[in-house]
């Protein structure tokens, strides 16, 4: 499908039709979700053989199962016979999966073990026909991603330069991450709102979440915020930082020095980890975590929420948000992280509640003709992108309030929606980057301009 009439990523103009149209939505399931790497599980969610959880790739339910040999397999949670959902639990431990319709029984690897009376009614149970549809998997530092597509690049290549930034969320500590719990809820809005925001919209925080900052800031006995809290709030009043965009639509952004933290326990612990994290990742990566999204919908914040947004029609999404914690952190730190997360970024969270209303109203208004006719403006930091600048790999802009990553995300979205095969898309993206790099080099050569804005 050609969505280029709705998306002009170079000019930063995007029409609301892509959030509203049922026809576009149906195409997204095939061209976007079925052709991308989607988050399925973390190792700590299914530690023991037989442990399983259900997740989704788009609207397709997938069972992710720990095998006897410690490996992981994933397959469509659908019986090959009549398409019934094989397993109706969200998670658990199983020795096999029996379809409750006619009793077809599948192993935890998705192979059909038995169909009742099969010797009398089938010629054979050819595994190629009868096995549950398998997902191609990748495990990146404990995070398991899956795709139906055999032609999309391997996961690390798919991440590209974003891998360097991803590590600042998931590879900070020896021992890695572990899951603490999950929240799942439904929002009446298009899934792309919750892909675009963690990629590219730090700008909304000051107003959308102003009330939460107001009440969470601690006050001293004199009724004023202590100096450390004023310093944290200063990140909002004098914003500085960066945003990164990847050719495959991933994006991230961060305040210099990291996200504003209102919890003293977490802040002090965070500061105490600088030596360890710097030794592991390099000093330049200690504070670059803020918010991020791996296209299409695996988002994360530096407070250790990791979540997928599942599309449920053009006007509905499900958010599945796991709270995680550094496995080797002290118990009181993990508890502070858990409480902070559920009180800020969960359906009852003081930040999260307000995002819901923005998206609900944004979606509702897209029903209108004029609301979709005139393009929305995505022009923050337009024309300010550089490659490999300030020690940051790939394409960045030197401000935390920017829409470079949204433009990049929608460019990639339009590329995928065109239906062109992955090898062609890779050529297209390579050529685009070469052209941009050449243009930047040509513009820079007569009068080199020092980078500004990003550094404090």
């Amino acid at each position: 499908m050609d969505v280029s009439k709705f998306i002009d990523a170079e000019k930063g103009l995007i029409k609301g039709e892509i959030f509203h149209s049922q026809e576009i939505y149906e195409e997204e399931l095939e061209q976007v979700f079925a052709r991308s790497w989607c988050f399925l599980a973390h190792d700590s969610m299914i530690p023991e053989p037989g442990d399983f959880m259900q997740n989704y790739i788009g609207e397709d339910p997938v069972l992710v199962v720990r095998q006897e040999d410690g490996s992981v397999k994933a397959f469509l949670n659908q019986c090959r016979h009549r398409g019934m959902r094989l397993c109706r639990a969200d998670l658990g431990n199983a020795k096999n999966f029996m379809c409750s319709f006619h009793g077809w029984n599948y192993g935890i690897d998705g192979e059909l073990i038995n169909a009742p009376h099969s010797d009398q009614i089938y010629e054979s149970l050819d595994p190629d026909v009868f096995r549950a549809t398998q997902v191609r998997l990748a495990n990146y530092k404990g995070f398991i991603f899956g795709t139906w597509d055999k032609t999309v690049a391997d996961f690390e290549e798919y991440l590209g330069d974003f891998a360097w930034y991803f590590d600042a969320y998931v590879d900070r500590f020896e021992g890695g991450m572990e899951v603490v719990g999950v929240h799942k809820w439904v929002l009446p809005a298009n899934w792309k709102f919750n892909a675009e925001q963690p990629s590219s919209d730090m700008y909304h925080g000051e107003v959308s979440h102003g009330s939460a900052f107001q009440v969470m800031v601690p006050l001293s006995a004199e009724g004023a915020p202590p100096p450390w809290a004023m310093e944290q709030l200063g990140k909002l009043s004098q914003p500085a930082g960066y945003q990164f965009t990847a050719p495959n639509g991933h994006g991230t952004g961060w305040f210099n020095g990291g996200m504003p933290l209102m919890d003293e326990t977490i802040l002090k612990w965070h500061q105490s980890t600088e030596t360890e994290v710097s030794a592991r990742l390099g000093a330049d990566r200690f504070a670059i975590a803020g918010h991020a999204n791996i296209f299409p919908t695996f988002m994360m914040l530096s407070n250790y929420t990791f979540r997928v947004t599942h599309p449920r029609g053009p006007d509905e999404m499900e958010i599945w948000a796991w709270s995680m914690a550094p496995k080797n952190a002290a118990a009181e730190v993990k508890e502070a992280i858990r409480l902070d997360l559920l009180r800020t970024f969960s359906p009852a969270g003081m930040f999260e509640q307000d995002d819901a209303v923005n998206w609900e109203e944004e979606q509702r208004i897209m029903r209108g003709h004029m609301a979709r006719k005139k393009p929305l403006v995505y022009q923050q930091m337009l024309g300010r992108a550089r490659y490999d600048a300030d020690g940051l790999p790939g394409k960045t802009v030197p401000h935390v309030y920017a829409e470079e990553a949204a433009r990049g995300m929608y460019q990639h979205y339009a590329d995928l929606m065109s239906g062109k095969p992955w090898p062609d898309l890779e050529k297209l993206k390579k050529a685009r980057e070469q052209r941009e790099r050449a243009e930047l080099a040509a513009a820079a050569s007569p009068a080199p301009k020092a980078a500004s804005g990003g550094s404090q």
């Binding site: 700590s44 969610m45 530690p47 397993c87 109706r88 639990a89 969200d90 998670l91 658990g92 431990n93 199983a94 572990e178 899951v179 603490v180 719990g181 999950v182 929240h183 799942k184 809820w185 439904v186 929002l187 009446p188 107003v207 959308s208 102003g210 009330s211 939460a212 107001q214 009440v215 969470m216 499900e318 709270s323 508890e335 858990r338 409480l339 559920l342 009180r343 969960s346 359906p347 009852a348 003081m350 999260e352 509640q353 307000d354 819901a356 209303v357 923005n358 609900e360 109203e361």
Partner: protein, 191 residues
Amino acid sequence: MNKPDKVTHLFKRPEHLAPVNVTMETAYEIEQFLYAEAELLDAWEFNDWLALMAADVHYWAPVRENRMAREAEQEMYPPGTAAHFDENLQMLGQRVARLYTHMSWSESPASRTRHLISNVRAHTTDKADEFQVQSSFHVYRTSSERHQDSVVGRRFDLLRRADNAYGFQIADRTVVFDMSMLLVKNLSSFY
């Protein structure tokens, strides 16, 4: 992952399933207290509502997930893991203060809620002035032009007699929502 603990299946605890053993007068006082509490919430008198909480209150709402029949007792996340609320008095105070900033966009403009409380059952405890009280709630909410939703569940309270206008304080509350995946955009009220 922290495996949910069997003893947390609140609906199956013998002390909750036991026949009611308080006097008719006490039952009446407890019911009227819960109705008054609901009225304060629906009237947006959140500071008065907060004043009903004991200084040592714990307000907790565990997350539930869908489990196979043989693992049904693990459907609720145990304390210290996934929860919608896990609050002490100071934390509840932050949530109340937020509602009055006029920038809490989920409730500004305010939604209209109706807290319907029913199926109230009370039991005595070791302490003469404390009661275990279960009640069901149906919180119907409308907001904006056309938004409406419902949140239904059951509460497990420890109520303590108190020298206040309504006669009790809430010393402990566990809220169990009937939904596993929440089919609402947010939980912007108190339950």
